[in-house]
């Protein structure tokens, strides 16, 4: 009986819960894990569900706690260690684009530009873009996705990543340099 109710809940609320978790974490795998844990907790703690609130509200309150835990637990190292570039390595890469005087040592080449009107509709370009985005260190990814895709406020992103405003735009700057170079390298 309970399992049937649960199955209905999973069918009905998985998507909304996931989208919220994805919005809050900007990270697909993390969002999926949090939603799974939410249902698992709900299943184990069904006795605590009084029916006074809607199941949706109840599930969301569990998920919100999970999201808070996720950020609290990992405030210094927010994301799972990935095989991608570490922040330090990626910073070294972007620093190497300039010499000590701030002149380009690896000057951008005009091999892709917005003059090519359909570039953003070109699946090959978008594929390279996604590939390069995945290559960024996790917290850089979080910053650029938060800003450009989710259109989050700077203060919200700074809070998520536990950084100040200067760190934040430095990350955006380095992430752009890194992405641009990656696209250039892969765009033949």
């Amino acid at each position: 009986m309970e399992e049937n109710i649960f199955e209905n809940w999973v069918n009905e609320y998985t998507e909304t819960l996931y989208l919220w978790a994805f919005y809050k974490t900007s990270h697909k795998e993390v969002a999926e894990d949090l939603v799974q844990e939410t249902f698992l907790n709900a299943f184990e703690g069904i006795g605590k569900f009084s029916g006074k609130s809607s199941p949706k509200t109840w599930l969301f309150s569990i998920l919100s706690n999970k999201i808070n835990d996720f950020y609290r637990k990992t405030s210094s190292k927010v994301f799972p260690i990935s095989k991608d570039f570490s922040e330090q390595e990626a910073t070294e890469v972007t620093e190497s684009f300039f010499d000590a005087n701030g002149n380009w040592s690896s000057a951008p080449k005009m091999i892709f530009s917005k003059e090519e009107a359909n570039l953003l509709d070109d699946p090959k370009f978008l594929e390279i873009f996604d590939f390069c985005l995945e290559d960024l260190p996790e917290n850089w990814k979080h910053a650029v996705r938060g800003k450009y895709i989710f259109e989050k406020k700077s203060s919200e992103i700074c809070h998520d990543l536990n950084i100040n405003a200067t760190n934040y735009w430095q990350i955006l700057h380095r992430a752009k340099l890194f992405l641009r170079k990656c696209i250039e390298n892969n765009w033949v």
Binding site: E3, F6, E7, V10, N11, T14, E15, Y18, L19, F22, Y23, E32, V35, Q36, F39, L40, F43, F98, N101, G102, N103, W104, A107, P108, K109, M110, F112, S113, K114, E115, L119, L120, F125, L126, F129, V144, K147, Y148, I149, F150, E151, S154, Y168, W169, L172, H173, K176, L177, L179, R180, I183, E184
Partner: protein
């Protein structure tokens, strides 16, 4: 271009200002410096164009990406995963 008389900024600084202005409003003097630099430096001009293009690529992603809906296949998988755990 070395920072000698205050009006000239380095290429690195120019790229910083290009990104900074997307986050925050930059001051009048900074705007002038950047404009002046971009008039003379075709490499940074290229950077600027490509940077804007990358911003546009993000915007395009945000329109098409899974903000309002999940990919049906992924949703099905996630539901199955959850159900298999109880």
């Amino acid at each position: 271009m070395k920072n000698q008389n205050g009006l000239l900024i380095s290429c690195k600084r120019a790229t910083e200002l290009i990104e900074l202005r997307e986050v925050d409003s930059i001051g009048f003097l900074q705007k002038i410096k950047l404009k002046f630099h971009l008039m003379m430096c075709s490499v940074c001009k290229t950077y600027e164009e490509q940077s804007i293009l990358i911003t546009e690529a993000f915007k395009k992603k945000s329109q098409s990406s899974s903000l309002n809906a999940m990919d049906p296949y992924e949703l099905k998988n996630l539901k199955a995963k959850i159900k298999s755990r109880f």
